[in-house]
């Protein structure tokens, strides 16, 4: 039984962040990487809102998380467009193959 407190929220955020990071690292699918990004953003949102409730962040936490959500939507749209383009050009979605820019 968990009792709501700032630490729990921060812990959930940390778990989400770590899983998001792992997702980005272990997924070779470009869209999997995108999912990792979404998880990381959600983790940060949870932290913002939690601090907004428990900390001195006040309304600013909610507002910042709103901005993050909206920007994430735009970012997802762009990322998907890039993924589509990537898929169209290379006929694969494997990010490991996308190394044309390597030195």
């Amino acid at each position: 039984m968990l009792i709501p407190s700032l630490q729990i929220y921060l812990l959930v955020g940390a778990v989400l962040f770590t899983t998001g990071l792992l997702c980005m690292v272990t997924k070779r699918n470009a869209i999997g990487v995108l999912m990792g990004v979404e998880l990381i953003l959600t983790a940060s949102n949870i932290n913002f809102v939690a601090f907004s409730r428990y900390g001195k962040l006040g309304l600013d936490g909610q507002l910042v998380s709103l901005f993050v959500i909206v920007l994430a939507a735009g970012e997802a749209a762009i990322a998907l467009a890039i993924a589509m383009n990537f898929y169209n050009n290379f006929e694969t979605i494997d990010v490991d193959r996308a190394s044309n820019l390597k030195g």
Binding site: V25, V33, D96, A98, S99, N100, L101, K102, G103
Partner: protein
């Protein structure tokens, strides 16, 4: 009430705007709009004129009696002229005027003020002078509450304004212009029926009418000048209406450029005037009774006054086609015939004469002498050219120039009434003549008189109405032309009596009266009488439709009766009395003192002279062109030099070519040479110098500057090459690196942090 004229002025403008905006939609309705607008203006100006007559009852009295009451009545009686058979009534009218002293208080105190209404809105201030009102206000600040700011907007010195000024001349000109323009509009609906650009033609006509009406109504020189230019612009449009024809566009250019030459003079005159007087307003420059404002005149130098007067007159020379600048008017015949009628009768050329009459008190005796001589030369030269003209419209054009010469000349010798009277009567019969010739051209399809002849049977209405016009212009008794020409000759005689040194120039009107009768009858006979000279033309000739003949009939009646019906002895005021009401005092004082009265005395002689000359010319024309007693080709063979001179229009175009065009071209070539050799040479030299400098600088650039840049670039390039292995392109590796970095940083921070 003065607004009635303002509205009458603006209606054609409104029609023009509508036609320009919606012309392509309205198509033929353009004609109805234009005609309706000018017809409405005519209606308004008729109302206005009647109203003016009731407002200024003195206008209905015989001429000249205001200024020289006693003498005129006696003089008129002594002259025994039919014009003054109603002297008794005139006396009564004078008594009536006494009773109406409250109504028109100046009527019985000698000089009379013909101005009925005047109003203006200021437009721009050229000189910010302190007017009386603001001075009063400055000295008495307490008055500020009583006088609102709108009172301060009075026209002060140096204010350019738009306004109207209604006197008898304005009312009369309005009546004449709108009446003739209405006839011409109606006529044009028939004449221009098959033209493309039908709508545009009427739009131009509307603008033309507006310009002329605004010119007539204006109360200051500046507005006159603006309308003056507008009139010129419209004439440019209309003369060049058939712009597909090279000759038409050339004629339009010629008219425009010639007018610009005159306008330069006008502008110079206006500038001199403004810098002398500081105002453009008529009411400030002239006193109500028609003298130069003595306050202003005291400031003015006679020399500059003369310059101003001659400058303004040069403008008139351009617009009214006087001697050196008359060459555009015959060429302007390239425009459609109704336009010719409008230009020659009502609008453009009348503007010049109108301006001379308007600014009459301004002219110094020297300026007037110039006017007289120019007018005299014009009237004679044009009349002689008209003798040999074969194009029916050109003949009429030269006759216009000649008649304008009459007006200008007689104005120059103080015949203010005679000049304006001739302006009005001439407007009617010249409009008539032009429309008749248009009808002939419309019916036959040619303008050359040698191809016509015997058209009387084919187009009787045209022939008869034109005969009326010919009789009028020749000055046959009882026609309007008789009265106006008679007045001119009387004035000339009166002037000649007192100034015998100018007798030579004063002979010209008499001689030209004969020549006028000669060439006009020549025109009529060649066109309508005798055997057809061109079978083809004659077969195709036909009478024009009602739209064209009805205006002809109306104009014929007007032309015949324009000077009033003094021969009937009815107590109806004649044209002369109407004009005479507003005669400026300047035309009857100074060197012209008593001249009007003397002219009245000489009416009898003058009428005999004028009629005699006309009869002579007529007889000659009958003998040559109708009965064929004399052969024109014989005369041509016997006087080859004279004929060459006349057929080449006194070599004016050639003279201008040698005096103006060739020198201008030569000067142009000289300038071109200078440009090519001196200026271009200098430019080439500097370009060469620049090239040499650039070569040197290029070497410096390549060697030193580029070398440095290349060295920096290659250094960075090598650094980049050595660093590029860091970029693995392995996306997930980057993430791992970032995470590792973060962990390392936090660990490091934790290790280093000591609370």
């Amino acid at each position: 009430m003065g607004l009635i004229w303002v509205i009458a002025t603006l209606v054609p403008l409104a029609a023009f705007v509508v036609q320009i905006l919606f012309g392509s939609v309205l198509k033929r309705a353009n004609a109805y709009i234009a005609t309706g607008a000018i017809g409405f203006s005519f209606f308004l100006s008729t109302m206005g004129m009647l109203w003016y007559a009731s407002f200024k009852p003195g206008v209905l009295s015989p001429p000249g009696h205001h200024a020289h009451h006693e003498e005129v009545v006696e003089g008129a009686g002594a002259a025994g002229h039919a014009d003054h058979s109603h002297d008794g009534e005139a006396g009564e009218a004078t008594d009536h005027g006494h009773e109406d002293a409250g109504h028109d208080s100046e009527a019985d105190h000698g000089p009379v003020n013909p101005v009925a209404f005047e109003g203006s809105i200021s437009w721009a201030t050229l000189i910010r002078g302190e007017d009386t009102l603001s001075k009063v206000l400055r000295e008495n600040p307490a008055l500020g509450d009583l006088i609102g700011p709108e009172d301060l907007r009075e026209e002060g010195p140096g204010v350019v304004s738009v306004g109207y000024r209604i006197d008898n001349i304005t009312a009369l000109m309005f009546f004449m212009v709108t009446l003739i323009a209405t006839c011409i509009h109606v006529y044009s609906m028939g004449y221009m029926d098959h033209e493309p650009r039908y709508g545009r033609f009427f739009a131009y006509l509307s603008l033309f009418c507006f310009s002329m009406l605004a010119l007539v109504v204006s109360n200051n020189f500046f507005q006159v000048f603006m309308c003056w230019e507008l009139v010129g612009l419209c004439s440019y449009f209309l003369i060049g209406f058939y712009y597909e024809k090279k000759s038409a566009s050339c004629a339009a250019n010629k008219a425009f450029i010639t007018n610009r030459i005159g306008d330069v003079g006008f502008i110079v005159g206006l500038m001199v005037l403004f810098s002398t007087f500081g105002t453009f307003s008529f009411s400030e420059i002239f006193t109500p009774e028609g003298m130069l404002n003595p306050e202003l005149a005291a400031k003015a130098d006679t020399f500059w006054l003369t310059v101003a007067g001659i400058g303004i007159f040069v403008g008139c020379v351009g617009k009214s086609a006087q001697f050196p600048l008359h060459v555009w008017l015959p060429d302007a015949m390239e425009g459609p015939t109704p336009v010719s009628a409008l230009i020659h009768a009502a609008t453009m050329v009348a503007a010049g004469v109108y301006l001379i009459a308007r600014s009459f008190p301004l002219f110094t005796p020297e300026a007037l002498l110039v006017i007289t001589y120019i007018g005299g030369i014009t009237l004679f030269v044009a009349a002689t050219i008209a003798i040999v003209a074969t194009d029916i419209k050109k003949a009429l054009a030269y006759s216009t120039v000649s008649q304008l010469g009459y007006m200008v000349m007689v104005l120059g010798i103080g015949g203010w009434i005679a000049g304006l009277m001739h302006l009005i009567t001439h407007a009617f019969f010249k409009a008539l003549l032009f429309l008749c010739s248009g009808s002939v051209i419309h019916g036959t399809g040619t303008q050359e008189m040698p191809q016509m002849g015997g058209l009387y049977k084919k187009m009787p209405k045209t022939a008869l109405t034109m005969l009326v016009g010919v009789l009028c212009i020749s000055g046959f008794p009882l026609t309007s032309g008789f009265y106006s020409k008679d007045a001119i000759i009387a004035q000339v005689l009166a002037y000649g009596e007192s100034n015998p040194e100018h007798t030579f120039i004063l002979l010209l009107p008499g001689i030209s009266a004969g020549i006028t009768a000669f060439y006009m009858f020549r025109l009529w006979f060649m066109t309508f009488v005798g055997t057809p000279r061109d079978k083809h033309v004659h077969d195709h000739a036909h009478e024009s439709g009602d739209l064209m003949t009805v205006p002809l009939v109306i104009l014929a009646c007007c032309a015949f009766l324009a000077a009033g019906v003094p021969w009937l002895g009815l107590p109806i005021p004649s044209l002369e009395s109407f004009i005479g009401f507003g005669q400026p005092a300047a035309a009857d004082s100074g060197q012209f003192a008593g001249l009007t009265a003397r002219a009245h005395e000489l009416h009898g002689v003058a009428s005999v002279v004028a009629s005699g000359c006309a009869l002579l010319g007529t007889v000659l024309a009958v003998a040559i062109y109708w009965k064929g007693y004399l052969s024109p080709s014989e005369a041509q063979r016997q006087f080859p030099r004279v004929y060459d001179l006349l057929i080449n229009k006194w070599y004016f175009d050639e003279i201008y070519r040698y005096l103006a065009v060739r020198p201008a071209m030569a000067f142009g070539r000289m300038v071109a040479w200078f440009d090519k050799n001196v200026i271009d040479g200098a430019l080439d030299g500097s370009a060469d110098l620049t090239v040499r400098g650039s070569n040197f600088e290029g070497r410096f650039d390549l060697g030193i500057v580029d070398g440095m840049v290349n060295w920096i670039g290659s250094t960075f390039f090598e650094t980049g090459v050595s660093l590029k292995r860091v970029q693995t392109g392995w996306l997930r590796g980057y993430v791992v690196t970032i995470a590792l970095g973060a962990v390392a940083l936090v660990a490091l921070g934790a290790f280093l942090y000591t609370p």
